[in-house]
């Protein structure tokens, strides 16, 4: 008895919460410069800081074979300084960059021959130290001399030091398949520093240490992909899942491409994708809006307008054959079942979010069924990944005891079938909606977190998503969820990754 009353009281409370304050929204001011650069601003006078950043609408999906990983590599290069920052002698510095490039042209010509020798079976690895011809070693030595000369003139990591000394924190960036985002938090009295620093690196970037930075990115790849239990297989799985779409290759790029980029390619990339019309900046915190607007004109107004960046035109092909990956790794036996679904802001993406909500959580269907009732899994989860150009819905589970990845796969498919075949209880749907109502507030609370969402959503299509997702998702009905599950989670169209413990029983 007690429980029923309690439950009733709860739904009343939540309904009241939703009514009294409507759904949480954040007032975002926007303006655009004549060069096409867009600004979003949220004033929060209670803060002692301003979190600020910008997004370039470019990611690995904009790349092509030969330059995979360029967007991410670029993100690293944007911290290397400008004509003003990073060197004591800009004239000589720029000369050295050009001299280095001439040597690299020769080096690239030798690698062209190396690849030929590799194709003919004369060498095992075109990039191996022991396969380097004498001429290449000489060029590398000359190149190293230039690097040393440039370093003697350099002011190391000056970009970082200036921000650090000004009391900035959290300065960083990230790259995804669709966007590249740069951000930092500065003391509330120093927003002009942010305008100075960010417009400077967009106005006159100098890609110093271009070739040395490739080594850092290689280490990043070793760290994230090659030295983790499942990293390399996740790469294989993604490449298998995305047949024609550029999501096929990893954000960090294929290693052979990473070793072959030229400065000319990087410059072309910058001109195309870092044009002001392809950028959105955002500020969240304690500042004066009119002052920010004037500073935006003054600093970012200096960037010349350029032609719009090309669109990604390749669409994903319909699946024609069943795809299953079988992997052995130092990992818990596990499975992923992935389906092609819909991109960011697609009308069905909201129903798929609700579907994931029904499946997730301690009281969600996957945990109840796979973990509690059937004892097959230690953990299970579902997610809708809405990217800019396409999306995927994924079900994952980690085995427990003697359960095999195939057992998990069957159990996951059972839960999808139940969604399609059986009615969804009203209370269960209400629970997911209550969580959306609460999450709508939680997502707005932190200044920095709000900034990242604004940039990410605007990079994917439109920042307004932040203010519309809760309302749109709350309008989803049981029938919408069932229809979305039936349409996108077709068992025939699934792509499956099965992971077994290396040396374990099969």
């Amino acid at each position: 008895m007690g429980r029923v009353t309690l439950a009733l009281a709860l739904s009343v409370a939540i309904a009241h919460a939703a009514r009294s304050s409507e759904v949480a929204k954040v007032p975002v001011q926007t303006f655009e410069l004549s060069n096409g650069m867009k600004f979003l601003a949220v004033v929060r006078p209670e803060l002692s800081t301003v979190s600020a950043g910008w997004v370039a609408r470019v990611g690995s999906a904009n790349e092509r074979p030969g330059i995979t990983g360029m967007s991410h590599f670029f993100e690293h290069m944007m911290f290397k300084g400008s004509r003003t920052l990073g060197t004591r002698n800009i004239e000589r510095d720029l000369q050295i960059v050009e001299e280095q490039e001439k040597l690299q042209e020769e080096i690239r010509a030798i690698y062209r021959e190396q690849r030929e020798r590799y194709r003919l079976g004369e060498i095992e690895d075109p990039f191996a130290d022991e396969a380097k011809p004498e001429r290449l070693l000489e060029l590398e030595k000359k190149f190293d001399t230039l690097v040393e000369e440039q370093r003697a003139l350099m002011v190391k990591d000056e970009f970082d030091r200036i921000y650090t000394a000004a009391g900035a924190s959290g300065m960083n960036a990230f790259t995804s398949e669709d966007v590249t985002v740069y951000f930092v938090t500065v003391p509330a009295n120093k927003i002009e520093l942010w305008f100075w620093m960010e417009s400077d690196r967009l106005l006159s970037p100098v890609f110093r240490e271009f070739y040395a930075e490739r080594d850092v990115v290689h280490e990043e790849r070793r760290l994230r992909t090659e030295s983790t239990p499942t990293g390399e297989f996740e790469e294989v799985f993604a490449a298998m899942f995305w047949q024609s779409h550029p999501y096929h290759w990893p954000v960090v790029g294929w290693p052979s491409d990473l070793r072959s980029y030229s400065l000319a390619q990087a410059r072309e990339y910058f001109e195309t994708y870092y044009a002001p019309g392809n950028l959105t900046a955002a500020l969240v915190g304690n500042f004066d809006l009119e002052e920010a607007r004037a500073l935006a004109e003054k600093y970012f107004g200096r960037l010349p307008a350029r032609a719009p960046a090309p669109d990604v035109v390749t669409l994903e092909m319909d699946a024609r054959a069943e795809k299953r990956m079988v992997a052995e790794c130092d990992c818990q036996p596990q499975v992923e079942v992935r389906y092609h679904s819909v991109p960011f802001r697609h009308r069905d993406s909201y129903a798929l979010e609700v579907l994931a909500g029904l499946l997730n959580g301690r009281s969600g269907r996957l945990y109840k069924s796979l973990v509690l009732e059937r004892g097959l899994a230690a953990d299970a989860a579902a997610s809708q990944d809405s990217r800019k150009y396409a999306g995927a819905f994924s079900l994952q589970a980690e085995a427990k005891g003697s359960a095999s990845p195939e057992d998990l796969e069957r159990a996951l498919l059972d839960e999808v079938r139940r969604i399609v075949d059986e009615p969804i209880p009203e209370r269960e749907l209400q629970k997911v909606k209550n969580q959306i109502t609460a999450s709508a507030y939680q997502r707005l609370a932190g200044g920095f977190f709000l900034l990242v969402q604004l940039l990410l959503y605007d990079g994917l299509g439109d920042f307004q998503y932040l203010n519309e997702w809760a309302e749109t998702t709350l309008a989803v009905e049981a029938a919408d969820v069932k229809r979305a599950a039936e349409r996108y989670l077709d068992p025939e169209e699934r792509v499956v990754g099965l992971y077994y413990r290396e040396g374990g029983e099969r």
Binding site: L6, A7, A9, I14, A17, S20, S21, E46, S48, K156, D157, R161, I162, T164, A165, A166, G167, A168, M171, T185, P187, N189, K190, E192, D200, E209, A212, V216, V217, H218, E219, E220, R222, L223, E226, S227, P229, A294, E297, K298, Y299, C331, Q332, G361, R362, G364, K368, G375, A378, K400, R427, Q430, K431, N434, Q435, T437, A438, S439, Y441, A445
Partner: protein, 488 residues
């Protein structure tokens, strides 16, 4: 057209853009440390509560901290405190079975969790204001009248066993375990690990009696932040805490100190991966004197040496100059309950592990041999002072900072002194503390990676592990994930 006109007017009025960012002038920004007394309360039953109201959003956070944790585990039941904490959350309550409890919590869209540390354990509640009363009812029923449901205990144990099986999968997990053992020994409460035998030995009675004995009002610190009225929330808290046991459990505090004496030198665990993952460093003494100005000098040293990203020496040399690692940093951590540590961490391809290590050792030697430059001092000080207000940026941070003080027994005045202490540090003070606290002769070096590639060093012959650690390398065995006994 009108936009263009507006822009030109603004440009005409605005001062020109300075050639360098240092030439920018900023309005002063005054920050005063919020007065802790405004937020501090003591309930009639002697529980300390911090309430920091903020009604910007209809959100409330509540946190309870207790002086208990794995240091109270019996030697044959390592993991008991942690398991008691997780079953408290997942094992249901007297009136609600586990599934019903989860259902109620998730229907309210509340987040209820427990945490179990070495010496600090507790519970968190986050929810929207309209459901606060109901969420608190559930939260306190869970904390005071847990069910410890047998079926959930079995599931939690199975899950822990699966987690144990993964102990040798991630290089970082192997590194962390062996590092704790090298520094503090295998039996110390902070470094010991649960085995299958420990797990099998823990019964429902053990969990229930651990809860009865150690989840008490004594030494409890509560913090609340968000959309609440202090007077109202204090009344509710008091009523929820009345039937809790108060004084009585004579727990040892502070927890014991490690008996183990670390043996300096080089250690290695074999793993077939392309990149070695490395930690090197040593213990630093337990820190209890929060007025000691050396603390500020040490934070500046840490900032300059490897604690502040690209601006710090170790990151610059290993990552920016040499491209040897993606992540390379150092960290000096102090603990008021036991030894702290000084560590340098990085991951580098096997062949350049020795070279990156050599550079890290050079930088440790350098900071002990000459004072930092004026520029480095100025950057570190400005950064520490100007980022300081961020510690008090939100109601949640203020509540967390002051509740943390109360937990470890530190005066809130620490924060009032802090910026002046940083300002007063001279370059020679940094040199002095570096010489006093960094101990090259005590360094323990540990790498997880492929030894046949690590040992020869880099292709140019710039460094080899055997030259850096002439005492030789101890190859540590991989451990059986369930027994932690050495594998052949």
């Amino acid at each position: 057209m009108s936009t263009v006109w507006l822009v030109s007017v603004l440009l005409a009025q605005a001062p020109a853009i300075p050639a360098r960012p240092e030439e920018l002038r900023f309005d002063p920004f005054h920050f005063e440390v919020p007065d802790a007394a405004r937020y501090r309360y003591e309930l009639p039953n002697r529980v300390t509560v911090y309430v920091v109201p903020d009604s910007t959003f209809p959100l409330v956070s509540l946190r309870i901290q207790l002086r208990q944790g794995s240091y109270l585990d019996p030697v044959d039941k390592v993991g008991l405190a942690g398991l008691a904490g997780s079953l408290l959350r997942s094992g249901g309550t007297e009136s609600l079975d586990p599934s019903a409890f989860d259902e109620e919590v998730e229907f309210l869209a509340a987040r209820i969790s427990t945490f179990g540390g070495d010496s600090r354990s507790g519970a968190n509640l986050d929810c929207i204001t309209p459901v606060l009363d109901q969420a608190m009812d559930l939260f306190f029923e869970m904390l005071r009248r847990p069910r410890f449901d047998e079926a959930r205990i079995a599931i939690e144990k199975e899950n822990l066993l699966e987690a144990m099986r993964q102990r040798n999968d991630e290089p970082g997990d192997i590194l962390g375990r062996e590092w704790d053992w090298l520094l503090e020994g295998e039996d110390f409460y902070r470094s010991r690990r649960m085995t299958k035998a420990h797990l099998d030995a823990i019964s429902r009675d053990d969990l229930a009696s651990f809860h009865e004995k150690f989840w008490r009002r004594e030494n409890m610190v509560v913090s609340v932040s968000g959309d609440v009225d202090p007077a109202a929330i204090l009344k509710v808290l008091e009523s929820h805490l009345t039937d809790w046991p108060g004084e009585g459990a004579a727990t040892e505090w502070p927890p014991p100190q490690p008996a183990h004496v670390p043996r300096p030198g080089a250690y290695h665990v074999e793993k077939d991966i392309p990149q070695g993952t490395v930690v090197l460093g040593h213990r630093v003494p337990r820190w209890t004197d929060w007025e000691n100005p050396e603390r500020a000098a040490l934070q500046i040293m840490d900032h300059i040496l490897g604690g502040s990203g690209f601006t710090s020496r170790i990151t610059q040399r290993i990552r920016s100059d040499e491209g040897l690692a993606y992540d390379a940093s150092s960290s000096l951590s102090f603990d008021s309950l036991g030894p702290g540590s000084f560590t340098v961490s990085f991951q580098s391809k096997n062949a350049t592990v020795a070279l990156a290590t050599k550079i890290a050792l050079e930088e440790i030697a350098r900071i002990r041999s000459e004072p930092p430059s004026e520029e480095e001092m100025a950057t570190a000080k400005a950064s520490l002072i100007e980022t300081f207000p961020r510690r008090f940026e939100s109601a949640g941070q203020i509540a967390g900072t002051y509740a943390g003080d109360a937990f470890i027994g530190r005066s809130h005045d620490y924060w009032k002194r802090w910026r002046d202490q940083v300002r007063a540090v001279a370059p020679d003070d940094v040199l002095d503390v570096a010489r006093k606290y960094l101990k090259p002769e005590a360094i323990v070096f540990l790498v997880v990676g492929k030894w046949e590639e690590i040992a020869p060093g880099d292709a140019d012959g710039r460094a080899r592990v055997s030259e850096l650690f002439p005492g030789g390398v101890t190859h540590l065995p991989l451990r059986d994930p369930l027994t932690l006994k050495a594998l052949p």
